[in-house]
């Protein structure tokens, strides 16, 4: 069960997406919906649970893990938080991450990376 999705924009802060939403699947309708989303306050860590474990993902990380083995060692009272970059170039940065991993030896698109995470959990 996905708890919440937070999208950090470049210049306008953070907005929250509820997991039960049905996002439009075409780009034109998606752009129309984006202007209606609720912007929440920064910093983003105030919205995360207190028992959260924040994991950043990057191709450039030196820690290459098997994602299924990585999440299987977690206890059930831990709330995992994944930080995935959705830009064309660059890498995610943040001082709130507990871990920084790479789940493939190839560079991945954000969609494929998220698919691997969701399938492993």
């Amino acid at each position: 069960m996905v708890g919440a999705i937070y999208v950090k924009m470049d210049q306008r802060g953070v907005f929250e997406v509820k997991p039960h939403v049905r996002i439009p699947r075409t780009c034109n309708r998606f752009c129309g919906v984006i202007i209606l989303l609720r912007v929440v306050e920064e910093p983003i860590t105030r919205h995360l649970p207190v028992n959260s474990h924040i994991v950043g993902l990057s191709y450039t990380s030196e820690k290459l893990v098997d994602i299924e083995e990585y999440v299987s060692v977690w206890s059930n009272d831990l709330s995992p938080v994944f930080v995935v970059g959705t830009m064309v170039n660059g890498k995610v940065k943040g001082d709130y991450m507990h871990d920084y991993i790479s789940i493939s030896e190839y560079p991945l698109a954000a969609k494929y990376c998220l698919g691997m995470i969701c399938e492993a959990l």
Binding site: T26, C27, N28, S104, Y106, P107, L108, K111, Y112, E119
Partner: protein
Amino acid sequence: MTRPYGVKGGRKRKHAEPKYDEEDQETQPKKAVVEVEHNKEEEQQQQTPEGDELSGIPITPSENNTNKPNVIFILEKASLEVAKVGKTYQLLNSDDHANFLRKNNKNPGDYRPDITHQSLLSILDSPLNKAGRLRSVYIRTEKGVLIEVKPFVRIPRTFKRFAGVMLELLQKLSISAVGKREKLLRTIKNPVTQYLPINSRKIGLSYSSEKLVDMDDYVSTVPSNMDLVFVVGAMAHGKIETDYTEDYVASVY
């Protein structure tokens, strides 16, 4: 009727000239390759008298030393259709051409080329393709056109450009790389089974299948010398029914 055909002929003649130039350019790298080979032979001849009595056997690395099967994807029932909207020909989709489709008594929800676009991006962005195990992707449209996509192609990542490329493909039957004669996307003849390997297992994927499998376990039962062909529907509604699929599975996820 004759004039458009004549115009097309003229275009072909215009294209013929740069083809000759490209052929002339292509012969030069062939000569370069031959020169490199000659250099290698000379080096070998020089080394044999100088080397030890026992000459080592050169180890040639095998190209595909993994024991995992190669994969082919077939996207069925893709809605890639060209029509004249206003004054120009366009690839029909439900967002931009809803009024046009309703005027022609067609359901706009059935025209979803963005599904084909996202499916292609998912396949070509996968680690399977980056590892070199993707052999080819075939797209069969609702109208029956069969398209071959090479695994090294870089599909445009925005839908608008993708629609432009697909429009050109459906009108000119192939898309070449810029400056080369290599075909990246090609319209090929039906049926698709003539392009599949002989020792391949053809698997259809459907939500309504009674056979629910774990995809990891299912793929591991396939012998490594067999190729896998996955048939996926690239439409919004309905199910694929093809006569060449041997199995229908649904994944547990």
